[in-house]
Symmetry: none
Subunit: 204 residues, 4 copies
């Protein structure tokens, strides 16, 4: 029998943490990180502002945990896709689909990531945001280049422009996506891919 390390308290601490982080993420997403007061989060969680500091070191450490948890999960998915040895078109399809799944699961975190990562990344503590973004860029750019090389994608497009186009196109969806909708993430992904890959104009 393993020794009961730490806390005999029944109320599983990590559960509470996650609940609180979900609450915080929702508020951050809705109002923006800076505009969100710790009091507001506490209100939403049914406690007083000061009480949050039992669970977290600071407001900053809350976003930190929200974002890093999200990115960890995101990369779990991405890495699996990238390791699967698919062709460029299939890789893009899988990455986009995976992205919409993440938006579905972590809508708030994604929204926060979109709005705040640029200025958060300035702080050393959030260095992983920059790292992630670079890894991200490498994965997408590489796949696009591979696709152009093997003829899956058109050769006449500016590759960086295309990268930005596809990237933004996907993630901005977090700003309007509502999980209660009738579109599953896979369904939305399929439609997006259809537009991105084949265009909206009718083919003759």
């Amino acid at each position: 029998m393993p020794t009961a390390k730490k806390k005999t308290t029944v109320s599983a601490t990590p559960e509470r943490r996650r609940e609180l982080l979900n609450t915080a993420a929702e508020v951050f997403a809705a109002q923006g990180y800076n505009a969100t007061t710790v009091r507001r989060i506490a209100d939403e969680a049914g406690m007083l502002a000061g009480s949050l500091y039992y669970h977290f070191d600071s407001k900053e450490s809350m976003v930190d945990e929200i974002l890093s948890t999200f990115l960890t999960e995101l990369w779990d998915g991405y890495d699996a896709v990238l390791a699967a040895g698919l062709g460029p078109r299939e890789t893009i399809e899988a990455l986009v689909t995976e992205s919409f799944r993440e938006i579905d699961r972590h809508r708030a975190a994604v929204a926060i990531y979109q709005k705040e990562s640029k200025h958060l990344a300035a702080q050393p503590r959030f260095g992983y945001l920059t790292e992630s973004q670079q890894k991200f860029e490498k994965a997408w750019l590489g796949t696009l280049e591979r696709g152009v090389a093997d003829g899956a994608f058109r050769a006449d497009l500016d590759i960086r422009l295309t990268y930005r186009f596809v990237r933004d196109t996907v993630w901005v969806a977090a700003s309007w996506y509502r999980p209660d909708g009738h579109h599953s993430p896979e369904e939305i992904a399929r439609q997006y891919l259809s537009m991105v890959l084949d265009g909206i104009a009718r083919r003759d």
Copy 2:
């Protein structure tokens, strides 16, 4: 030489206002409205925080003027396009091109609009943001529907999804666009349109 009496100072009054608004817009775009302090804007403008209040009523009235000026100009362009009686595909092309021109001219304002309009629109003073957005939606949705009807666009796409796709695709560009680049707005518009209309996959 008797020319140019008076005012070696460049700052005729309305000029100064515009200068200051440009400065403010740049900072708002870079740091976000809430995170931007009035002191920071003043620093950038080479004056003290209090001095800004000689020119503007409040921080809020600064964004207000920035956004409303931008939207006025935007709609001048859009209305001209919409009144031109073009076909759906040409209308989309013209709107997208016009949009990139606006991004070129008002990059900061567009970035602010993207990031802040959602929560600013909550205040009555910024009601015109909502109005503009509705007019915008109507123009784009209408054009897309027309295009589907007359066979210019594919009939198998979710029209609202497509609207969001095209809309986001264009405006998000403001977040990375730098006017000093080697791409003219028209050039970028052409590339974007090529992707949006015909897709990135190679046609057989």
Copy 3:
């Protein structure tokens, strides 16, 4: 000895509020509302300016609570007098006596009321000041008229002028009254009434 567990600190919550309001009232009365800084009140209360905002919403809400509390108590007393069915002279005597009692208990609030009510009343929030003043006028004017009618008061005086005379005469006392004096409020009231009713000239 088991008695008096907990809280050697006197400050049960509502007590603290009252303490702070007393402090604030004293400063407002001494320096005027506008001229009083929140910092000054906080100093006097032994805390930092920001800390006051844990207890009160704003400087304005402090005067609000000070004045409304005072007026509530004042009208408790006045209403009792007016409901007692006394003759006009006795009513005036009772109102004046009651007034001096209020000056005794709420000297600071009365002084604030005197100095600030006129411009505070302009704001909707302080509408009750105007209401109170109208009720006040009605009560006094009515009593004076009754007194003239039944012969208790001289018929040859301008009734509005008399009203102002008596009203001011009483309340201005708040500007110099110091409760630690040797005059009880009742004593002062008696003297005032003697002057107001019978005049300062010797009767033949």
Copy 4:
């Protein structure tokens, strides 16, 4: 013909000064000294805030001039009365009448004096306010004492209380007095004196 010293400008400088001071006095009286902004006075005078500083050193010097001018005139009148060798009752009558005349001529200044003199007197510059008040007290108290001694006034009254009563009674009138009324200052004085000297109760 005396040489035109200083300024050939037609617009008699001292006139302008007086106009501006009247304007300032009116605003100070209406809003209180602290609450009055220099901008407001300038607005009312049809100029910009900075321009006032051509005429006056500071906001403070404006009240200073307003109050000292008023007090100079007041004491001209008072001194004449006191030097006239009247009996106590006649002296009181004359002082009260003179006071109402001053209220008529300098309503704004009197109102300012009432509201602000206490805290202005704290500054050395306004030392004359304290002096004036002491001279004032001496004149009134002395007259009242004389009146009690020679039987003109009742002997059973607290003399200081009586002093305050009469003093306040007169000056507070400035807070409601409007010169455009149908009551001349002499008429109001007569009524006040009637109340103060003989009381408002009917004599048998």
